[in-house]
């Protein structure tokens, strides 16, 4: 099987400081990769390099495009990369306000990606928006409300609907449950797990919360100081961590 995403020796520096370095891995269709590590370990830097928000200083990020097969997304033209961003890729931000248009209704937020790929039938766009709001447990009577009128958990669910409505093949998520109350987190995780299974999503999820990856990720990468220090199947890494740092990380979560 061809990987959906092939990451080869990616590095990003902020001046002399390491953002992330020596990162290589393959992601296969339908696979969910978790990236864990403490704050400042380089998770967001890596994710943003993969999603085209940051330009790495080194390495290749190859994506299996529909039209031309494997293409290095770093060297492709910006229009091509932006096209991927609004079709085959999705990005769920930690803060919903970074991923939503706060001055546009919920329906408009979900519909934007459809309109970006030339949907021009209002009735169809609205039907799809209602369907997707339902899938993230937002009732259709909220379709014309703005996200500012939503709770934090609802905003995050709206962001997910907005991202998934065009059926992306790869979803990037940066701390999707961060900043939410624990009970709200649990519900969101449940929802995400359902969607990942149902849509057979491929995803890369960055989090410092091991419970999130335990529930969602097939495989795990542990980062420290910009380096990947351990990788493996999620259960293996969490139940039998090899690296001393991972052992610390896992034990500290047990104490919580």
């Amino acid at each position: 099987m061809t990987p959906l995403l092939q990451v080869e020796d990616v590095a990003k520096f902020y001046g002399h400081r390491i953002g992330c370095t020596d990162v290589s891995f393959d992601l296969y269709p339908g696979e969910v990769m978790g990236i864990v590590g403490e704050s400042g370990s380089g998770k967001s830097t890596l994710l943003n390099c993969l999603a085209g928000h940051l330009t790495p200083d080194r390495g290749a990020v190859r994506f299996d495009t529909r039209a031309d097969g494997m293409r290095d997304t770093i060297t492709m033209s910006e229009p091509e990369r932006r096209m991927l961003s609004r079709t085959d890729w999705a990005f769920v931000h930690q803060h919903a306000r970074d991923g939503l248009r706060m001055n546009v209704s919920a329906g408009g937020n979900v519909g934007e990606r459809l309109m970006a790929v030339n949907a021009r039938h209002y009735g169809d766009i609205r039907d799809k928006a209602i369907d997707w709001l339902g899938r993230v447990e937002i009732t259709s009577d909220r379709i014309d409300d703005r996200p500012t009128q939503f709770s934090g958990g609802m905003q995050q669910r709206l962001q997910i609907a907005r991202n998934l409505v065009t059926g992306p093949r790869l979803v990037f998520m940066d701390e999707p449950t961060g900043g939410l109350d624990v009970s709200v987190q649990a519900r969101l995780l449940d929802l995400l797990r359902g969607l990942v299974r149902e849509m057979n999503l491929s995803a890369i999820i960055v989090t410092h919360d091991l419970a999130v990856v335990r529930l969602l990720a097939d495989r795990l990468m542990v980062m420290k100081d910009g380096h990947v220090i351990e990788t493996g199947l999620t259960d293996q890494v969490l139940d039998d961590p090899q690296h001393a740092y991972t052992q610390l990380l896992v034990s500290s979560v047990l104490q919580v």
Binding site: N103, G111, E112, M115, A116, N118, Y122, I143
Partner: protein, 289 residues
């Protein structure tokens, strides 16, 4: 007259503005940045349009200014006087006599010819602005033809009002490429954007010039199930009886009596001169007497 250079601006500035105009004509609908100059009138009074007019006027031109279709508003009168004084050009209120027409908020009813230039005053040139405040981002959207956001605006309109409620500054796509703000003309005027005359748009505060060359395709954005409609009040002009012109509504007495009349005052007067009389109108000769 000798106090000023012809049409107030110095020759170098006019050349700079003409270059922006030519670039605009070469790339229909594209917003060309230009170094807007201080004009002896406040922003919002059409300084963008005035600078464009100054750059295109020649001593042989005949100049007309309309504001909301009328030649006699304060704004129109002051701009007309300004060029009378600084350029010594002939001025007129008759659309067909004018070679350069500066306008705010309307396109004349009468079709323009290919030897006429229409100059628009533009307050906000960027049609994507209200949903995407970042200038860097909107420029990128134009460059990459990413116009989905424009339809989000129309979507919001329909979801809130049941129809596309945008009645002015209705966005258009020019020659299948750039999405453009036609300035706050009523959408009734949008079909007239495809014309024989040259159309130049000047935004002073925002320092942008853009253009539509003659006979350029201009399409108003819409949805398949909510097609664009160039609507106007369902009424005829009470003065001249015209059924095809854009109308202003006027309250005429304390009992709520209303009157509809052409917003294009020259068009209305022309029709009355030809003998047309509306429901509340009097024959032109009697009125003049």
């Amino acid at each position: 007259m000798t106090d000023y250079n012809f049409a107030y601006l110095d020759e170098q500035t006019k050349r700079m503005i003409r270059r922006a105009i030519l670039k605009g004509l070469a790339i229909p609908g594209y917003q060309v940045p230009f170094a807007s100059r201080e004009m002896p009138m406040p922003y919002g009074w059409g300084t963008g349009g005035v600078q464009v007019s100054a750059a295109v006027l020649t001593p042989d031109d005949t100049f007309k200014v309309i504001d909301q279709g009328a030649d006699d508003t304060t704004n129109a009168v002051s701009i007309r006087r300004f060029f009378q004084k600084t350029a010594g050009v002939k001025v007129t209120e008759a659309t067909e006599e004018a070679s350069v027409i500066q306008t705010r908020h309307r396109i004349p009813e009468q079709d323009l010819r290919d030897d006429q230039i229409l100059v628009y005053q533009v307050p906000i040139p960027e049609p994507l602005r209200f949903l995407e405040p970042s200038e860097v981002e909107t420029r990128k959207m134009h460059a990459l033809e990413e116009y989905g956001l424009m339809h989000v605006k129309l979507y919001e309109d329909i979801s809130q009002h049941g129809a596309i409620a945008t009645a002015y500054a209705y966005p258009v796509k020019v020659e299948g490429r750039y999405v453009m703000d036609p300035s706050p003309i009523p959408k009734f005027d949008n079909p007239k954007l495809e014309m024989a005359g040259i159309q130049l748009f000047g935004a002073g505060r925002e320092q942008r010039i853009y253009a539509i060359p003659p006979y350029t395709q201009v399409v108003s954005l819409d949805f398949d199930d909510y097609p664009f409609e160039a609507s106007k009040a369902d009424h005829a002009c009470d003065l001249c009886g015209a059924e095809d012109s854009y109308l202003d509504e006027l309250i005429v007495d304390d009992e709520g009596g209303r009157m509809f009349m052409c917003s294009d005052t020259d068009y209305c007067a022309g029709r009355r001169k030809q003998g047309h009389v509306g429901a509340q109108g009097v024959p032109y000769a009697e009125d003049a007497a």
